[in-house]
Symmetry: C2
């Protein structure tokens, strides 16, 4: 009887300490190493009351690129897939586009030809499929598409292809009073449709490439905002710190990216006073996700260019490079 009780007690202690160990590790999907350590050290330094690098809660801002940093971007941005999928609907509304390039190629379904469309042609598709409707119509359409569209490799909704280690970073920072923002080259209106559900980030904390809207009234005289084919903010490269100033008005203390499009955001963040954290996700895991980019001697792709120059700047300026292969225990939540 006594030995049973002791066994139970030991078991209870063991379980309790295991739970405790888990509770103490805010980043369970990360392997121990310099990347994980840098995140934990940064949070400790900036939140320790009375510490030399303490940051008041209201100033705690962290910004995250989305495509390739928070979720899969290879082989093609999911928003571009959305725009391509919208072309048949668009042509139904405007039949005169049927024999006009680039719509003709998209309608042909010839994936190789579609992949070869040059950027200006692709932009025509983006503009045509992302404007000309009210903001509410767009939200409804994007929501519907996201609920049914699936990635070709994992056969899962795009919204499931977020990186579990990065989800843990978002939660860990928020638990320490950081306001987490998405700062994406992707469309602001598109990302806002799912950011709260997928990342716990409300629409007002999504900064992205944005088109103008035009205020007016529908047939019943009800106010509407119509999406216009006119760029307000190209939230890539220098547009990222410019967009951060416009939409947030404070310099971030931490920033995460994965490509040359994030370079200026990481520079701008790191150049602030006190403890600042700039991190870059390196796609070096061909088996569990993808490996691409010149910094690894691999061919460049249409998405997320990670050049040798970016790698060199990271090393020189003290940004931390995250190796998906070495630093992440698992990539997706569904792998559990």
């Amino acid at each position: 009887m006594k030995s049973i009780r002791i066994t139970f007690t030991l078991l209870a202690i063991a379980l309790a300490s295991q739970t405790l160990a888990h509770a103490q590790d805010p980043l369970p999907s990360w392997n121990d190493g310099p990347a994980k350590q840098a995140i934990v050290d940064f949070v400790r330094a900036t939140t320790e009351t009375g510490g030399a690098k303490f940051v008041p809660p209201e100033e705690r801002i962290a910004t995250f690129d989305q495509d390739g940093t928070l979720w899969v971007e290879h082989p093609i941005y999911s928003q571009v897939m959305y725009c391509l999928d919208r072309v048949p609907v668009l042509v139904k509304e405007k039949p005169e586009l049927k024999n006009v390039e680039p719509f003709k190629t998209v309608l042909s379904g010839d994936l190789e030809a579609i992949a070869k469309l040059p950027l200006p042609e692709l932009e025509k598709i983006l503009v045509a499929t992302l404007s000309g409707m009210t903001t509410e119509q767009f939200q409804a359409e994007a929501k519907k598409w996201l609920a049914s569209a699936k990635d070709h490799r994992w056969k899962r909704p795009y919204t499931e292809l977020t990186y579990q280690p990065m989800q843990e970073v978002l939660k860990y920072l928020r638990a320490n009073d950081y306001k987490t923002y998405i700062v994406t080259g992707g469309g602001q209106d598109f990302v806002r449709v799912y950011s709260e559900e997928v990342y716990g980030i409300p629409p007002e904390q999504v900064v992205g490439s944005a088109g103008a809207t035009k205020y007016g009234y529908d047939k019943e005289g009800k106010p509407i905002l119509t999406k216009e084919p006119r760029f307000l903010l190209n939230d890539n490269n220098a547009g990222k710190p410019e967009g951060i100033h416009l939409m947030i008005g404070r310099r971030p203390y931490a920033a995460f990216g994965n490509s040359t499009g994030d370079r200026q955001m990481l520079e701008y963040t790191k150049a602030g006073d006190g403890a600042r954290l700039s991190m870059l996700v390196l796609h070096d895991d061909a088996e569990r996700e993808y490996a691409y980019g010149p910094a690894q001697g691999l061919p460049n792709t249409k998405v997320g260019t990670f050049t040798q120059a970016l790698y060199d700047e990271a090393k020189k300026d003290g940004w931390i490079v995250i190796s998906m292969k070495k630093d992440w225990k698992r990539i997706f939540a569904f792998e559990n």
Copy 2:
């Protein structure tokens, strides 16, 4: 002895109930009446769990115009005063402007002539004094000016000329999980300098007229953002709902304004589903503040036009007009 104890007990009860009464009235500077009642009813309806008009906390957005709604705008916007005060500094840096209009008139100090400057000339002054420096230089300059500049009538810093009843509305809404935003035709960068200290509203919750910035590097290679003489967002009239969509991405549940520049914001807010509150401050108190605007048969001024058409739309669409004279017990905190 016993009577003393009873007296003490009664006194304690009296004090406690007084405290309680005060705690129960979130709007002590408001007189009882339809305006105060509308605010209290709106908050109750949207926060009562299980109620038909309940709004989830994350969707609780309230937007406030600034000039004339949260603080004094008459006879001239304080930001315009800032720009006029900057002209001598600007001319010292660029002596070639000394004999060029409108700078020459401003330097003359002839207040009547300055007041008569037409809008395009005034805009030249705004552009010249609000661009061409880094965002950090601008913040430092504006902060310094705000600390010393004083209003001509009350001889107090502009930041003390906020309306106490509106400060109470801001706090009351925030206590009920509303996120409060300033949506101003004034300069976003200018208002952000003091919004947190003056209104408890962080810079990222200030939407205003905004110029572009340009990312670059200073002589030491440090990243900087330079304020450009190019408009990104004119946050007046239709620009208000457009700016709300750009910067917040959700329709407000409550909006407060005081002029035709706020019309579209109030329409857009009121057109949403469920309980929505649109309110207009009417400047009808010549004694304690100012009285102006065609809706009262008074001459129009350079600031905050309140037309008869606006008044009619308010009545027709169920917006609530706040009479400064009748609805506000006091105007400023320093009147206490």
